[in-house]
Amino acid sequence: MSLNVTVHNLKMQYNAHPVLDGLEFDLQRGELLALLGANGAGKSTLLRCISRVLEPTGGSVCLDGRDISNLTALEIARQMAVVPQEGGVDFEFTVQDIVLMGRFPHIRRFQKEGEREQDIALSAMEMTGVAHLAQRPVTTLSGGEKQRVIIARAICQQPKLLLLDEPTASLDIGYQYELLELAVRLNREKGITIIAAIHDLNLASQFFDRFILLSEGKVLAAGRAEEVITAENIKKSYGVPAVIFRHPLHGHLQVSIPKQQHGTGINKKGPAVHVIGGGSEALPVLDALRERGCKLSVGPVTAQDSGYQYASFYRIPLVEVPPFSPVSDEIYEAHLRMIREAVLVVVPPIPFGEGNLRNLQAVEQASREGIPVFILEEETSRERDYTGGQATAVISRLKKKGAFVTTDTDTMIAYLYGQDKYSPKEAETGGGNKG
């Protein structure tokens, strides 16, 4: 039930403007391929050339070695089903009518759809979870339900190759996962070769095995996720800087694009602020301060820390500690030097353990030297204190000495930029006051 696809030197022009420019790739039987690329990269055009809705201006598409330009529409439809981007149905066909149309290429002109056809349609509807809607007019369904009906029709066509054009574009997050899980199931259980044009790189990397990244009508990269989804490729094809990391739950590559308003944190005219790193809780603080143009520094962080990735991306100076190691005297001193260059030191609501207790002590030292301290607390420090109370004790002392305490970054920023209406005093949650 599967098929291989060979695209050779495929060219397509619209008004002398090349959309596909000598595209070349090979798809083995039973592969699950995600077609990536920016808007206008040629994903949809490629799919439409493969389904022969468009006739390419050059090159060829072969299914199992047979050039599709020599096949009839029926011969193609018996092997290939397509789920188009917009499946708008304005006429009141019932769900069952629509799904049964998938049998079109398989039955003769005046043949009635018999029990066999009905069984195939029913099992397709069951597979996509629309069997209970069989008699409902499609016009009364929600977008997600309609999409599942269109997919049921494609399944009912019993294809060897399934093309999906932006199948998740109009779906909510629940349906997106359901749909891609279904695609994977069709691929694994029925061996259907699948090509899906998809915009969401993170979803793609989670579900697909092979990737082709198109850019300006050419294959920019092809292969496994690690070969295709790289910061460099994304910069080239989408024109944005990206951070690539592994998802903490499933380990697939994930792409994230940082906000760009203010570029890097260095060379900024804002006040110098030092943020204590060592936990993901520091990230929103860093980002808020960076957006306001603060001259940031971070420390101490390990290379695995999210704060480290953040700082490296924006080229923010940092103090690094080796993983799973206590803060050495040398690092303590380096950290303290860095704090002294700032006009303010911020302690985000990160957890404290034996390893990073010394960082708090560095803050206390800086406080003694007259550098103002801002403590952000979402929960009291006791709940994230793994030092047997030592960290909480330090924080209490800091508060007594006049550290500002607040729960939100806005108050902190207001203080930095001297807006009275967010007077830190009013935001105090008890314990501390301006000394």
Binding site: V53, M80, D90, F91, M101, Q157
Partner: protein, 356 residues
């Protein structure tokens, strides 16, 4: 298996509906031949039919005058109305499906304005041209209708494909242009004005066996060439691209459908003028009660179109007897309120469904 039961129930429902529409048509035809300025009993109608069948003896005697009225006037008129009604309804259903546009009617891409231009030209020039027993007006109308659609088709063509949206727009443009020419000619029509206006309203007062003999083959050929592609037309309702994905050779199918529907409309207009509304509402009517499946929609529309036009024509020739109203006036006056009623009722049903 609950699904399978629903399935069979639906099929049965459609069969019953088709049977009912068939009976409606027969009933309309039967009442039409018996009603008129001279009432004729149904036994006499049967007698005329039985006279012609070998081995049957007529149940009652029939007078020569009644026989003449039946055979020379009422039967051809009813048959012509049936063929024209069915043709317009089927052509309307086809264009609505092909263009995926509920506003489409048989005249949407210019067949009627082309035919009107031909007919008005023939009237104004008082052409005496004739062929196979037909005068210049129907011949010119037929030629005008087909020429219009050919022009539209070639103007809409882009390379090897004819996008339906372009076809529709080209049709509307050509139609408007030809209508303007018709208006211009009408403006200078002078003594022919009444004839021109009356022809454009359409009607069956000129019905004859000759017209029936020409109309019926066109109706059959046109209908069959469309019915043959009923499943393709269903797929095309989902969009041309989707139809191609399902294996429909859309360009080929479009040609067949256009040729079929154009023949139906051109023949109908040539024999009976421009009769409005039937082609627009009959398919909608059927869709509202039985859904858009063309395998059912086409025959059902044919029966309903035939029955409805026979009925309205009977009204047209009896309400002001012995004078005749143009049938187009009646079709709109009867059809529109009926259609709106159904639309309203359907809205309530829909509301009920969605609030489940």
């Amino acid at each position: 298996m609950k699904r399978a039961m629903d399935w069979d129930k639906e099929k049965l429902r459609k069969k019953i509906l088709l049977l009912f529409l068939g009976l409606l048509f027969v009933f309309a035809a039967a009442s039409a031949v018996t009603t008129g300025a001279v009432p004729i009993g149904w036994q006499e109608v049967l007698a005329v039919i039985f006279e012609r069948l070998p081995g049957c003896s007529p149940p009652v005697e029939i007078s020569g005058v009644h026989r003449e009225i039946l055979i020379q006037m009422r039967l051809p008129r009813v048959l012509l109305a049936a063929a024209v009604g069915a043709s317009l309804a089927v052509a309307g259903a086809t264009f609505q499906g092909l263009f995926r546009n509920p506003m489409a009617d048989p005249y949407v891409i210019g067949v009627s304005s082309g035919a009107a231009l031909g007919a008005v030209f023939a009237m104004m020039t008082k052409s005496t041209f004739s062929m196979a027993g037909f005068g210049a007006v129907p011949l010119f109308a037929f030629a005008g209708g087909l020429s219009a659609i050919l022009i539209v088709y070639y103007m809409a063509r882009v390379g090897r494909v004819v996008p339906v949206m372009t076809l529709l727009l080209a049709g509307i443009a050509i139609s408007a242009f030809l209508s303007a020419l018709v208006s211009l000619l009408t403006y200078f029509a002078g003594e022919q004005l009444h004839q021109v206006v009356f022809w454009m309203m359409g009607g069956f007062s000129g019905a004859s066996w000759l017209k029936v003999k020409v109309m019926i083959p066109y109706a059959l050929v046109g209908y069959l060439s469309i019915q043959l592609f009923a499943r393709e037309l269903n797929a095309m309702l989902l969009g041309e691209e989707t139809a191609r994905h399902l294996g429909v050779e859309t360009e080929k199918v479009k040609k067949f459908l256009l040729v079929g529907a154009s023949l139906l409309v051109a023949a109908a207009v040539a024999t009976s003028g421009v009769i409005g509304f039937i082609g627009l509402i009959v398919p909608h009517f059927i869709r509202l009660v039985a859904g858009p499946d063309h395998r059912f929609l086409l025959p059902a529309s044919a029966f309903l179109g035939a029955g409805l036009l026979i009925g309205t024509d009977t009204l047209a020739r009896t309400v002001m007897a012995p004078a005749e109203l143009p049938v187009g006036i009646i079709t709109a006056m009867v059809g529109a309120p009926l259609f709106i009623y159904l639309l309203k009722k359907r809205k309530k049903l829909r509301y009920f469904h969605s609030s489940e």
